[in-house]
Amino acid sequence: MSTSDYDPACLPDLLPLYYRRLFPFSQYYRWLSYGGVSKNYFQNREFSFTLKDDIYVRYQSFTTQNELEKEMQKMVPYKIDIGAVYSHRPSQHNAVKSGTFQALEKELVFDIDMTDYDDVRRCCSAADICSKCWTLMTIAIRILDRALREDFGFHHLLWVYSGRRGVHCWVCDDAARKLSVAARSAVAEYLSLVKGGEETVRKVVLSDPIHPFINHSLSVVERYFQQYAIVDQDILGSKESVDKVLAVLSPLCRQMKSFTREGSSVSYDLHFSCVSVKSNSKKGGQYFDKEIMLQYCYPRLDVNVSKGVNHLLKSPFSVHPKTGRISVPIDLKELDTFDPFEVPTISLICEELEKPRAEEAEEDDMKDKENEQEAGERRRIRDYKRTSLAKYVKVFDRFLEAMARSRKGEMLKKSDLQKDF
């Protein structure tokens, strides 16, 4: 069983073990160094830790992978956040002349949180999630991943499960890390379709012409809508929920005469017949069905998370203290079968670590005795490979490989241009 009875009270015992033997430090360091192309990129990166008893410390920075490991093992953070790459070492920011310490670069990030969908979820609310509403995350990932790659031309996206009720996206391309605040906010707005808070009933408004981005997004939503909204969420299942759907449209329709639903077809059609809208100049009403689908399913982003260059976001591979789950990378090739409830918890992987080892392990132990330092690493690698964490680290490895290949390609291109052979 995945959860293996996780109990938050065990964290103080489990975390040290996790940081000593399971946290993938070398991959982590490899990621944040970005091939060492920019000097001091890792050294000037801000981390923040939340320690036991909710003590929060900012402006942590480290000079080497080793220092990072030692500090994390010493401080045993309950939560880890990653911030921006600054102009100076964050740990020395007080020594810098005021005004000169500035956030320079950071990945472009997105945070999709299930609570933002509470007005359209019937199965759960607040911090709860279930397999029925998880589809919303799947839809969000598909739509955003496509747009970021095809429309914006980004290549290196890391999607991470947040550990409880959402997903994060880290866009790691060079160009993405260098984006200004204005550019980040423009990207986030381009990707936003659902607008309005408590007081807004109709949150999606479409008008001619429909931008290709919206059409792409709609085709993703349509793929899932039948199963998700009609079956799982059962949005037409009770008078109350039907009324809710109609309420979205009521400003436009004088009277809903009837509507039908086609239970078996893959693409779902909502038929509405309305008395025509009184001399209202807006042509509104022709895209009802699309607007409803989008309002119920389209990703809801928090623009503020994406805007700020210095915004801190939960780190991949950190533990979620409430659920015990590790924030693991999501393999988009297996997206439709991803189950948040199968994500390993810290208690599970620690338990897996303690299981008796196979015979080959003894040979490895002999090799270790020869070289202590490398041994530590090798041991760690062997260790996580024995746990459920393995497959997620593999996803991370592939992501890092792709970035390395791309960097190599860039360098070759550059040296070709400079006729440097």
Binding site: F152, G153, S185, A186, P212, F213
Partner: protein, 508 residues
């Protein structure tokens, strides 16, 4: 830029290279020598142009027909380059196209010096220059637009015909107002999305692989962003090198006045002196005074006192409408004596300052009444003060109440408050003029309280014919001490040289 007194002629052959397009990005500063006169003239004319851009931009929808018409007129009257080709023989006497472009170039850089110093000045300057640029770019032919882009290294590739064909449907649905035909005909530019943020943010453009596909007519937005960025950076750099420029004492007074410049009549010499009697003032304050002066007059009547700032602003205004020194002394004494000041104290303390205003004491400068700019920008009022511009300095609620007391209609009040919100204080006052005089259009561009009075009297047939007296607009309004003797002599000489520039100082 070096500024010896002599003017040097530019060699003819390089003419065509230097200014081969009527529009430019102002990337390179001018490298020639010019006279101080030209320096001043150019600056003043461009300032007038920018102020017109501002005013017209508020009164009419930007780039609408009327906007274009009005701005066209300003361009021709002020001799700035618009569309014509360099070698265009259509120029009718007056300045050649080349001269116009040269003026455009030089005047822009001079104003940079004057407007780089504070955030507010920079913002204003950038805003007007951008509007100006947008207007001029819009007036170019398609060919000239492309020329301009190429000359300025805006390396935006055009999209090939095949690519356009394959993306046709997507292009049509992503940009406003496009059809299959226009997509085929028009040029599209591939621009990295970071350079087209406004279009990306509102999803008004097609994006593919990080590039925005911009139709030709939208390219101006991109160009404008580029323009704004460059100008912003340039102004910051200019500000840093400003101290060196300001140490040149010929330039320092001019530059510091330009940003507060009032470029019209200065109402210092009035031919109608003595044509107003003191008894008329109360009535006139309600009919023909601008709100600031009406406010000051009322405060004076109620409190029998005004502080220094109020005395200066109001006192000089009264001088401007025709009060003699004796009348002024009588006016102020009679009011102050009703308050806490006895006649003796008045003669000792306050009379001196009244005489000072009339140039009868101290340096004997005949001070000129304050323009709107001066009232709005300098010496803001504090507790116990009644001077300043009510549209600028009063809390909107209080302003509203005051206007209600003065029986301005509610819709009129709303219009005024809208203008105030947009920081168009002089236009708000103009609107006040229109509402209190019951006219649709004031018929003038307000920038001086005495102008308000004159126009009001004209309208009401008050019979006060004020002859226009021309004077140097750059004459400091308080302190000629900034200029040392030699430069004062210099500007006197410049003044004679500027004899034919009377045309600047006509009211509309």
């Amino acid at each position: 830029m070096q500024f010896p007194g002599r003017r040097k002629k530019v060699i003819g052959s390089s003419q065509n290279d230097l200014y081969d397009h009527c529009l430019q990005f102002y990337g390179q500063p001018p490298l020639e020598n010019i006279s101080l006169t030209e320096f001043e003239t150019f600056a003043v004319e461009r300032l007038k142009l920018l102020k017109s851009v501002e005013n017209i931009g508020v009164s009419y929808v930007k780039n609408s027909e009327q906007y274009v018409k009005k701005l066209d007129a300003e361009f021709s009257s002020l001799n700035f380059p618009l569309r014509t080709e360099l070698g265009d023989r259509r120029v009718q006497g007056g300045t050649s196209e080349y001269e116009k472009r040269r003026k455009d170039h030089i005047s822009h850089f001079i104003l940079r010096l004057a407007y780089c110093q504070t955030e507010d000045l920079r913002r204003w300057f950038i805003q007007q220059e951008m509007d100006l640029f947008r207007y001029r770019f819009g007036e170019l032919t398609s060919k000239h637009k492309t020329d301009f882009l190429h000359k300025n290294n805006l390396k935006y590739e055009t999209v090939s015909a095949e690519e356009k064909k394959s993306l046709k449907d997507k292009l049509i649905t992503s940009s406003y107002g496009l059809s299959g035909i226009t997509v085929e005909e028009y040029d599209f530019y591939k621009v990295p999305f970071q350079d087209a943020l406004d279009l990306v943010r509102t999803r008004k453009v097609y994006l593919l692989a990080g590039n925005a596909y911009i139709p030709h007519h939208e390219i101006v937005t991109i160009v404008l962003n580029d323009f704004r960025t460059r100008l912003s950076k340039a102004l910051a750099m200019t500000a840093r090198s400003l101290p060196a420029v300001q140490s040149d004492e010929r330039l320092q007074p001019l530059l510091s006045h330009l940003s507060h410049a009032y470029v019209g009549q200065d109402y210092s010499i009035q031919k109608n002196m003595g044509k107003i009697s003191l008894e008329q003032i109360d009535a006139l304050s309600g009919k023909s005074f601008p709100l600031c002066m009406r406010h000051l007059h009322k405060a004076l009547r109620e409190n029998h006192h005004l502080r220094h700032g109020g005395r200066m602003q109001y006192g000089l205004f009264l001088k401007g409408i025709g009060l003699t020194l004796d009348q002024a002394l009588q006016f102020w004494r009679s009011e102050f004596v009703k308050g806490k000041v006895d006649a003796d104290k008045f003669d000792k303390a306050y009379a001196y300052s009244v005489r000072h205003m009339f140039g009868k004491e101290g340096k004997r400068t005949d001070y000129t009444p304050y323009s709107c700019m001066k009232v709005i920008l300098s010496n803001p009022p504090s507790q116990g003060d009644y001077h300043g511009c009510p549209f600028r300095h009063s809390d909107p609620e209080l302003l509203k109440q005051k206007l209600q007391n003065y029986k301005v209609s509610p819709s009129g009040i709303n219009q005024i408050l809208e203008l105030v919100k947009g920081m168009h204080y002089q236009l708000a006052c103009q609107k006040y003029f229109e509402l209190t005089h019951n006219v649709e259009d004031a018929g003038f561009s307000l920038n001086h309280p005495n102008q308000y009075f004159t126009e009001s009297q004209k309208l009401l047939g008050g019979g006060l014919e004020i002859k226009k007296e021309v004077d140097m607009s750059q004459r400091s309004q308080e302190n000629p001490a900034n200029m040392t003797r030699p430069s004062q002599a210099n500007s006197k000489q410049a003044h004679e040289e500027m004899g034919d520039l009377d045309s600047f100082f006509q009211d509309e």
